[in-house]
Symmetry: C2
Subunit: 368 residues, 2 copies
């Protein structure tokens, strides 16, 4: 499979939803496979909160979560790179190459944005991706596919650029983030902001990369709860206790404790605290009806065929939330553009990354 | 209603499940109403993690959560203090008067236990309460009633002191804490332990009481998520945004953010970090079958009538967990001692404290 990566720089301003202007900015991207002559085989993948433009495993790639959708994208996989030219960019605000709070404010100084970075919305992420795609000659794609925050982008593409995609496939996502998810994000945001090492955003980067930030580690542990579910945790860990820890030791740990610690600590060295604040902010304020009088009015723009896939055990973005989108589509007479699937799963939110065998037939069916 | 409160001191050692010995120790208690002549009107209430021996609102009482079951206990209430003599103690390990990690190690110094405090189990809490009750001449009670960690104690009473209670009423609880709940506790434990002001348990008490501990505040926010549910949060907050906060301000808040902040901050000044570690440890390692070959074998001791009340929207202790207890009782031929109620509620775990009208008829029926 042919893989190309790069960073593209934009000198023209990006006008953000907040009224702020991002100028200049850059977008990191990867493409897989080869573009055909009539440009009809393009698939855009949109990534989730801690994803990146590196969904396929690459030797030597040190980006966190590299290969996060490895089983899904590649030769003969659901998104078949023998047939399709797959494009993915790192979203604005994420630190894996695109412009983020940890980018220099201008090219003439080393001063970083940090808290001076503007709030980015899902709509802004989509606008930047659209600009990027146009800049490399892409004016239309066969499909946009994304889960979680990636699903939000896919939906927003359908509203903001109705003629851009033939199919929009949004998994494990919502049309408007609920207080439940905002609350989980709040744990992380507070844990980061109250960590003395965070220093109101002026943290020492080298030190944080080296040792991690406790606040980010704690927040990630909360994240891991929200990605799983009561029953998936029970199946995964039960009440197993670490054999080297004392049962009556105040610091003794169950396996689930150890799992959260390990993942939290690891993550806190590989992700960036300010970037996490900005991306969760984008998720929190996401509402597809922003700028419209209702969800139905926003969806009225849709020309693409929309496929919604939800997972019964997802506690972060419930199947009900996808159903609300489906019902809104039906109520405005767009049922012929709509497919809705609810996958039976007790894996939790992560099902869209893990239980591929349960839904890849849907993707294959659409892309056939 | 007659109210009496006090602290009782015990010089004889309390042999703990861990093998450690607590000596001396003290138990803070409150009684409501009057004891009848044949001592047949006694009800024991057992409290939850952040509860206390002050479930009824008292003027001037500064204990956190004072009045936590005010609607439930009192004259003409479900637990009617016109008829019953109600006793409640503060559990070992909690800081509202009973011996805790913040008690002096011995009477001859001011040195506090802190991390030298032994791990306390639910069984230890029950043993200490039983000793206390015997010391004031109580050898039998009409009923033991508790929710959450209080329900664990009620169940443990039934196993460890089969002849003690006529009725055991356990609400919103479990027979063995699941990894889901352990994971939520982990967030708080890590947030406390990693807070630099915690100083490995040697924190400055005055400073923490004055300003709170951020780690405890963050942990409590996670707790509040677990006490509610997806739908109760949606009903309570929706996507309402604070009117004085900027939507595109990185620190702008939804109402749910503000709710978590407010409750987390308040709690962190009114509860104690080490006590929280010890009480969540007790909850985590609780398993009614500890010391028995199975749950059924533990329940075989039961002579009391057992009433289990679960709440459909409780995500911390699921109705399934109460059903497992009920099924175990049935499988050992004790269905005649068993009542099981599942209350339809989307309030979450807190339903047993909040939606009294949905289940107080059960209590009234039992106590009639």
């Amino acid at each position: 499979m042919k893989i190309e990566s790069g960073i593209k720089h934009f000198k023209k301003p990006l006008y953000l939803e907040s009224g702020r202007i991002l100028e200049p900015y850059q977008i990191a991207y990867t493409t897989y496979g080869e573009l055909n002559s009539d440009l009809s085989n393009i698939i855009l993948i949109t990534h989730a909160l801690t994803g990146s433009h590196k969904p396929v495993k690459e030797d030597g790639c040190i980006i966190f979560n590299n290969g996060w959708w490895d089983g899904f994208i590649g030769d003969d996989k659901a998104v078949d790179t023998n047939r399709y030219f797959v494009v993915i960019t790192n979203v604005l605000g994420s630190i894996f190459g695109s412009t983020s709070p940890m980018s220099p404010i201008d090219q003439h100084s080393n001063k970083l944005y940090r808290y001076k970075f503007p709030v980015i919305t899902i709509r802004d992420m989509v606008k930047a991706q659209h600009t990027f795609l146009q800049s490399i000659g892409i004016r239309k794609v066969k499909a946009i596919i994304g889960g979680s925050m990636g699903g939000m982008q896919a939906l927003q593409f359908g509203v903001d650029f109705p003629n851009f995609a033939e199919h929009i496939i949004a998994m494990a996502t919502t049309h408007a983030t609920t207080p439940w998810t905002i609350a989980f994000n709040k744990i992380t945001q507070e844990a980061i902001k109250r960590d003395p090492k965070f220093q109101n955003g002026e943290y020492n980067i080298d030190e944080v990369r080296q040792n991690g930030l406790d606040g980010l580690a704690i927040g990630r542990m909360a994240g891991h709860i929200s990605f799983l579910s009561h029953s998936s945790m029970y199946k995964k860990f039960g009440r197993k206790y670490l054999k080297d820890d004392g049962f009556f030791d105040i610091n003794g740990r169950f396996q689930v404790d150890s799992y959260l610690e390990h993942n939290g600590n690891k993550f806190s060295k590989l992700f960036d605290p300010l970037s996490y604040l900005y991306l969760t902010k984008a998720i929190n304020i996401f509402d597809l009806s922003n700028g419209y009088s209702s969800l139905e009015n926003a969806l009225a723009n849709f020309k693409a065929k929309l496929t919604l896939i939800s997972y019964s055990g997802d506690i972060l973005f419930l199947p009900e939330e996808s159903k609300e989108i489906a019902n809104a589509m039906i109520s405005i007479g767009k049922s012929n553009q709509l497919s809705y699937f609810e996958i039976d799963s007790d894996y939790g939110h992560d099902a869209f990354l893990v239980e591929l065998y349960k839904f890849e037939f849907i993707i294959k069916g659409i892309l056939k």
